[in-house]
C-alpha cells in the first residue's frame, strides 16, 4: 500500500493538483494577511467565500460570461467586507462577532438567496455551462517542458492570478504609500492617526482588499474547482486561511508557503482516499490536523522567542 501511495504522489499530476488546491486557500490567506497587517482579524473569510462563490455562479449564468462572474464575486466580497467593517469600526461590534455573522450569512443565507433567485436548493449544478467556467491556460513553451510543463501549465487563469497576487500584495504592502499606511495602522494606529492618516479609512481599505481576495477565492471554488456551487463547498478553507496567515508570520511569501503546505495536505487527502482500505473520513481530517500542528509549531516558536527576550510578563499564562 505504501508503494502504491508513493507512486501516486510522485507524479506530476499530483503536484499539479497541489497547486490547484492551494489557489483558493492562498487567495483567502492573502486576504487574511492584508487585513491582519492593518490590525483587523477577518474571521468572516469563510462566509465571504461562500457568498462570493454563489454570486460568481449566478452572475456568470445571467451574463454567460465567466469574467463578469469573477468580477461580480469580487465585488460581492468587497461589499460584504465593507459591511463587516461598518459594524466593526463604526458601530464597534467586536470584529470577531462581525465575522461570525458574515459566516452565518454564508452558511444559510446563501441557500436562501439561491432559492430566491433560482428556485434551486443546495447546489447550482444546472446553471453551469462551459462558458461560465473559468478557462484554463496552457503556457506556451513551458507546457512543452516535460514534467514541469505538466505541473505548471494548464491551470485556470485564476490559479496564476493567485500566485501573482503573492508578489503583488508584497509590492503593495512594502512599496506603495497605501501599504505604508496599512502597516503603520496595524502596528501603531495612534501613530498613524497622529499624522493625519485616517485609521478608519485605511482599515476599510484593508478589509475591502481582504474581501476582494476572499471573493476571488470563492469564485475559484465554484467556477473552477467544484464546477458549480454547493452548500458544503468551502468546508473551512476560510478558517484554514487564517491559520496559514498565522503560520506564514503574516508575510505574503511565508503565507504562500504555508498555504502550499495545506494544499499538499488536501491533495494527499484526495489521493489517499482513492486508495483501497483507507477511510475517506479519516483522510479528510488531514488538512485540519496539519493546520493545528502548524499553528502549534508556530505558536511554540514564537513563545520561545518571547522567552528569550524575557518580556513574558504581561501575558496571562
Amino acid at each position: 500500500m505504501f508503494e502504491q501511495f508513493l507512486s501516486t504522489i510522485l507524479k506530476a499530476e499530483f503536484l499539479f493538483s497541489v497547486i490547484r488546491i492551494t489557489a483558493p486557500i492562498l487567495f483567502a490567506a492573502l486576504g487574511a494577511v492584508v487585513a491582519e497587517k492593518a490590525g483587523v482579524v477577518n474571521i468572516g473569510l469563510e462566509g465571504i467565500m461562500m457568498i462570493s462563490a454563489l454570486f460568481g455562479v449566478l452572475f456568470s449564468y445571467w451574463t454567460q460570461s465567466w469574467l463578469i462572474g469573477v468580477l461580480g464575486a469580487l465585488v460581492i466580497g468587497v461589499l460584504l467586507s465593507l459591511m463587516m467593517g461598518f459594524f466593526a469600526f463604526k458601530l464597534k461590534t467586536d470584529i470577531i462577532l462581525a465575522g461570525i455573522a458574515v459566516n452565518m450569512l454564508g452558511a444559510g443565507g446563501t441557500i436562501f438567496l439561491l432559492y430566491m433567485f433560482t428556485g434551486m436548493r443546495g447546489n447550482t449544478g444546472a446553471l453551469v455551462t462551459p462558458n461560465t467556467l473559468i478557462p484554463v491556460v496552457n503556457i506556451p513553451l513551458i507546457k512543452d517542458i516535460p514534467i514541469l510543463g505538466e505541473v505548471l501549465s494548464g491551470h485556470s487563469v485564476l490559479t496564476y492570478v493567485a500566485f501573482l497576487f503573492v508578489w503583488l500584495l508584497w509590492a503593495v504592502l512594502y512599496k506603495t504609500s497605501i501599504g505604508l499606511d496599512i502597516r503603520a495602522v496595524g502596528e501603531n494606529p495612534d501613530a498613524a492617526g497622529s499624522v493625519g492618516i485616517s485609521v478608519e479609512r485605511i482599515k476599510y481599505i484593508a478589509i475591502a482588499i481582504s474581501g476582494a481576495l476572499a471573493g476571488l477565492g470563492g469564485a475559484f471554488m465554484s467556477m473552477y474547482y467544484s464546477q458549480g456551487w454547493n452548500s458544503g463547498m468551502v468546508a473551512g478553507r476560510g478558517f484554514i486561511a487564517l491559520a496559514a496567515q498565522a503560520m506564514g508570520r503574516g508575510e505574503p511569501l511565508g503565507t504562500m508557503l504555508s498555504s502550499l503546505l495545506f494544499g499538499l495536505a488536501q491533495a494527499l487527502r484526495t489521493k489517499v482516499s482513492g486508495l483501497q482500505g483507507v477511510s475517506s473520513y479519516l483522510v479528510s481530517v488531514i488538512p485540519y490536523v496539519v493546520t493545528v500542528i502548524g499553528l502549534v509549531i508556530y505558536a511554540a516558536s514564537t513563545m520561545q522567542k518571547v522567552k528569550k527576550h524575557h518580556t513574558k510578563a504581561q501575558k496571562g499564562a
Binding site: 497605501i178 501613530a191 492618516i197 524575557h310
Partner: protein, 520 residues
C-alpha cells in the same frame, strides 16, 4: 489685548468622557504668537485632554476654538495639522518597524508614478529638514533601533515637515537624560526664534522657569489662570498647581524601624532595547518604616516594582520578604507572604472597570474561608467586607454595586488602596499612590499609609512627586540611571535643591554611604 496677538484661543472648553469623568470644565486657554507657553498641572489635571482637543484627537463636549483668528472644528488630527498645529506626544507616536524617513513622511509619502513610495525622496526630505531645523537624525535607521532622544527629534521633525507653526510638546523631558533635555531646550529656543509657537506641557518647575515666556496652570480640570513666567515665583506656581502650600501636612510620629522585611540584593535588568534599566540595586525596607524612592521617571523605578511583584523577570539578583524569595513566582504566592501593591497604572492593573466596587475590593481575598460557604460565595460576608471598606476608605459611590469605571479618579484609587491596605500587609509597595487624584483623596491615602507603617508594616513608596516622597518617607533612596545614587536615613532635613542634584545625576554618594540602606 488685540485679537491677532493670539494664535490659539480655546474658550470655555469642557470635556466629559464616556465613562463620566469630566476632564475639562470650562477651560480658557490662550497662546500668543511666537512664545513658549507652559501648560502646567499635576497628572490628571486635564492638560493632556485639553491638548488632545487642540490636536483633534478628542472632540470637546462644549466650547470653541479659534486658530489664527479663524473659528475651527478640529474633528481629527488631519484638520489640526492643516491648521498648522503639530503635537509631540508623551508616548512616541512612531511605528517601530519603519525607518526614520518612513516615519517622517508617513501619511504624506512622496510618490513616483502615483502610488509607489519614493523612498529616496523621503530620505532627502528628512535630511533637508534635519539640517534646516538642526535636529540631526539617521534617516535610514529603523525607529526601534534608535535612542529615545533621537526618537523625540523624529517626532518634532514629523510635525515641522507637516507645516506645523504651533508645536505642542507633551511632557517632552520625562524620558530624556539631562544632556538630552539641555539639547532639546536649545532646539526649542531656536525654533522660537524662527517664529514658531510652542506649547510645553510639564510639571517640572525648573524647566518651566528656564525656557517659557508665560504659563497656564490647570487643576482638577479647571484653569487656574495664566501668568508671565518671570512674574511668578515657584512657590506660587506650586500653590496653584496643588492647591495648597508645598509643605505637606502629613502628621506622623517618628518611626521605630526594626528588622528588614524586604531585602533586595544586586538586582540587574537589561530591557529589550539593550538598555541597562536596573544596575546592581540593593536595599532593605524595615518594619515600621516608609522607605521612599525618589527619582525622575524612567530611571528604573517602574521595572524595580515590576520585579518585586513578578510582573517581570530580572537578569540577576535576589529579593526576599522575611527570608522568602519573591522573584519569578506567582502573584498569589507573593500576596500570601503579606506583600501588597498599589500599582502605578491603576486602570491596567488596579481595577476591573466594568465590574462592581464589591467585585474589585475582594479580588485578592475571594478564596478565603470567610467569603465562601462550601462551593458558594458567602454573600453576606462579601457584602459586609465591601461595605466596611467603602466606609473605612470613604469611597464616594452610590452603592457597592456601582461599576468602578463610573467613579472619579480619586475614588477609583481609593478602591485600589482599600483592597491593598486592608489585607494586613507586611510589606506595602505603593507606586505613585496619589498620582492624578484630588487633594482630599490624596491626603486620605497618605494618612492611611502612615497609619499602617506605624502599626508595623514596611512600606516602599515610589513617587515622582518630590514633595510626597520627602514628606511621607522616613528614609529615602534616589535612583538615577538604574542605580541607587543616594540614601538618606532621615528625610526631615532634606531640601529640594540637594535632592534635585542627586535626581539629575549631578551628584552621588559613595558606595559605603549607599550601602547603609541594606542594614546588614
Amino acid at each position: 489685548m488685540e485679537q491677532e496677538d493670539f494664535v490659539v484661543q480655546m474658550k470655555g472648553i469642557s470635556k466629559v468622557y464616556p465613562n463620566g469623568i469630566a476632564a475639562n470644565q470650562h477651560v480658557d486657554f490662550f497662546v500668543r504668537k511666537g512664545e513658549i507657553h507652559a501648560l502646567m498641572g499635576e497628572n490628571g489635571a486635564g492638560k493632556s485632554t485639553l491638548m488632545k482637543i487642540l490636536f483633534g484627537l478628542e472632540e470637546p463636549t462644549d466650547g470653541e476654538i479659534i486658530v489664527n483668528g479663524e473659528l475651527v472644528h478640529l474633528t481629527s488630527p488631519s484638520v489640526a495639522i492643516s491648521k498648522g498645529i503639530g503635537m509631540v506626544h508623551q508616548h512616541f507616536m512612531l511605528v517601530p518597524s519603519l525607518t526614520v524617513a518612513e516615519n517622517i513622511v508617513l501619511g504624506m509619502a512622496p510618490k513616483k508614478s502615483g502610488i509607489i513610495v519614493d523612498y529616496k525622496k523621503a530620505v532627502e526630505i528628512t535630511e533637508e529638514n534635519a539640517k534646516r531645523f538642526n535636529l540631526l537624525v539617521d534617516p535610514n535607521a529603523k525607529v526601534m533601533d534608535i535612542p529615545v532622544g533621537m526618537k523625540q527629534k523624529v517626532e518634532i521633525l514629523k510635525a515641522l515637515v507637516r507645516g506645523a507653526r504651533i508645536l505642542i510638546l507633551d511632557e517632552p523631558t520625562a524620558v530624556l537624560t539631562t544632556q538630552e533635555t539641555g539639547e532639546l531646550f536649545k532646539e526649542l529656543v531656536s525654533l522660537k526664534e524662527q517664529g514658531f509657537t510652542i506649547v510645553f506641557i510639564s510639571h517640572k518647575l525648573n524647566e518651566i522657569k528656564q525656557i517659557t515666556d508665560r504659563l497656564t496652570i490647570m487643576r482638577n480640570g479647571k484653569s487656574m489662570g495664566v501668568y508671565e513666567t518671570a512674574g511668578i515665583s515657584e512657590a506660587e506656581i506650586s500653590r496653584l498647581m496643588v492647591g495648597r502650600d508645598v509643605v505637606l501636612s502629613v502628621q506622623k510620629e517618628k518611626s521605630q524601624p526594626e528588622g528588614s522585611v524586604l531585602k533586595v540584593r544586586d538586582l540587574e535588568y537589561t530591557n529589550k532595547w539593550n538598555k541597562k534599566v536596573l544596575d546592581g540595586v540593593s536595599f532593605s525596607v524595615r518594619r515600621g518604616e516608609i522607605l521612599g524612592i525618589a527619582g525622575v521617571e524612567g530611571n528604573g523605578q517602574r521595572e524595580l516594582v515590576e520585579m518585586l511583584f513578578s510582573l517581570n523577570v530580572p537578569d540577576a539578583g535576589t529579593a526576599t520578604v522575611n527570608g522568602e524569595n519573591i522573584l519569578q513566582t506567582e502573584q498569589r504566592a507573593i500576596r500570601e507572604k503579606g506583600v501588597s501593591l498599589v500599582p502605578e497604572d491603576r486602570m491596567v492593573y488596579g481595577i476591573a472597570g466594568p465590574a462592581t466596587i464589591e467585585e474589585n475590593v475582594i479580588s485578592d481575598r475571594y478564596t478565603k474561608k470567610q467569603f465562601n460557604k462550601g462551593a458558594l460565595f458567602n454573600v453576606k460576608g462579601i457584602r459586609s467586607e465591601s461595605d466596611h471598606l467603602i466606609a473605612d476608605y470613604r469611597i464616594l459611590c452610590k452603592s457597592r454595586k456601582q461599576q468602578v469605571k463610573m467613579l472619579s479618579g480619586g475614588n477609583i484609587q481609593k478602591v485600589v488602596v482599600a483592597r491593598e491596605l486592608s489585607s494586613k500587609p507586611k510589606l506595602i509597595i505603593a507606586d505613585q499612590p496619589t498620582r492624578g487624584i484630588d487633594v482630599g483623596a490624596t491626603e486620605f491615602i497618605r494618612a492611611k499609609i502612615v497609619e499602617l507603617s506605624r502599626a508595623g508594616a514596611a512600606v516602599l513608596l515610589v513617587s515622582a512627586d518630590l514633595n510626597e516622597v520627602i514628606e511621607l518617607s522616613d528614609s529615602l533612596i534616589v535612583m538615577y540611571g538604574g542605580k541607587i545614587v543616594a540614601y538618606f536615613d532621615d528625610t526631615s532635613q532634606l531640601d529640594d535643591m540637594v535632592m534635585g542634584e542627586y535626581m539629575l545625576g549631578l551628584k552621588h554618594q559613595t558606595d559605603e554611604e549607599i550601602r547603609r540602606v541594606c542594614y546588614e
